[in-house]
Symmetry: C2
Subunit: 241 residues, 2 copies
Amino acid sequence: MSKALPEIRCHGRSNCFACELRHEMLCSHVSLEDLVNFHAGIDDYDYDHGSILYHAASPMDAVYCVRHGAVMMVKPGLAGALRIVRMLKTGDVAGIESAFSEAFEHTAIAVGEVRACRIPIACLRRFVAEHGGLQMRLLEKLQGALREAETWLSQLASGPTPTRTRMARLMLRLRVGAGDRIHRLSLDDMGAIIGITPETVSRIISEFVGRGIIAKCGSNVAHHRCFRGDIRALEKIAQGV
Amino acid sequence: MSKALPEIRCHGRSNCFACELRHEMLCSHVSLEDLVNFHAGIDDYDYDHGSILYHAASPMDAVYCVRHGAVMMVKPGLAGALRIVRMLKTGDVAGIESAFSEAFEHTAIAVGEVRACRIPIACLRRFVAEHGGLQMRLLEKLQGALREAETWLSQLASGPTPTRTRMARLMLRLRVGAGDRIHRLSLDDMGAIIGITPETVSRIISEFVGRGIIAKCGSNVAHHRCFRGDIRALEKIAQGV
DNA sequence: CGTGTACTTGAGTGGGCTCAAGCAGGGTGG
DNA sequence: CCACCCTGCTTGAGCCCACTCAAGTACACG
């Protein structure tokens, strides 16, 4: 994707041509020529920790391609209780679940620093209608989201499975890339994911730290903090040893 | 869909033209003429309670349109533990999640008497490639599956939510149509869904029966048995009253 | 009629929840 | 720069619910 790029400068907008993630994203399989029409209207946004991409039940007006960082998908439950049902990472698309609905089904919240491309829904629909390849891509993304949600359900959701085991699984899922760094959410958020109280989360983390399995690092400022974990040890615990 | 049907008799095969569910299914938005080619290769099967449509990890060779009954989707967990992550009802399609994978991700098990159309994957792919409308339909079905999975996660999966509340929610989800009949799974299956032990399930059911909220009915033969429930009462409990 | 499977019921234990107090650290205003 | 507050985290004590283990029952099937 290096030579003979169309000569287009994106003034304050996203530049799809220079995007190093293009082939992971929705727009892969779309020729550069076609992209010229597509990327008009697409904007690039930065969100910092805790800020909200969109609210559940608000009108569905766009999807967001996550280019950096992680995004929590929060689903409103029955008794007003919130539950984090999925996490998006680089390459995932926030909002496709609602692509054909009137309103968003989740609230999407940034975890750490997030960079995302906002694609207006009209723009997406038009482009999908014209490009069979894009539909396939959408299908794949949706499939991925479904798999992820089910994995959360089967591995993280409580049951007779010990809490420590589930906590270890959660940490592994929150791993940043392939290193030993792990996203450090708030106690409440972690509790909302695996379905336990923040107090219990705190106790288990203390225990893990005491056993040398994880260590808190980075400043305590929400934006930059994280864990560093002994991945092997976590995997052992995650398997129920 | 009544007049001027193509004159085709399906010898032992499914007859898409006479299918009263056609408009709920994948093949809606497909003209009857096109269906002539499509439905060749599609077979109609009956499964009785507990029989298996396909196994997880076995090669992905077909999808199944559920025309009657319910189907459990079972996902293999980490420690070999099984977890029921979703249930399909009339109009749902089993196997699309794996439409572009090599192997099935779930094991699909019939609940009660099930009738389903088996669509070979090659047949589906060919037809999808030719019909944009079908792709949309697939997207919608996939979206529905995702929504369902997330609902299970947020409402049924444990957490500080009392077990009785979750049991009530489960019963409501297992409701057959709009009446007061409720699919009666085995204790183990129910336990595998909301993540508790079969003993606890038994105790809660006993309690509900004692309170007159539900009643066991039908013969005790697995195939025909069910609950009849006081839907109002269940809804109250489901909301945490 | 015997066997096996699924369900029921009981007693006892322990893990996670509840309630509550104490602590640290960062941000704000003086 | 310091004092203050406020939010998020930690830690403790006590209790209750659901798990474990185990025995007993009902029912379908061979």
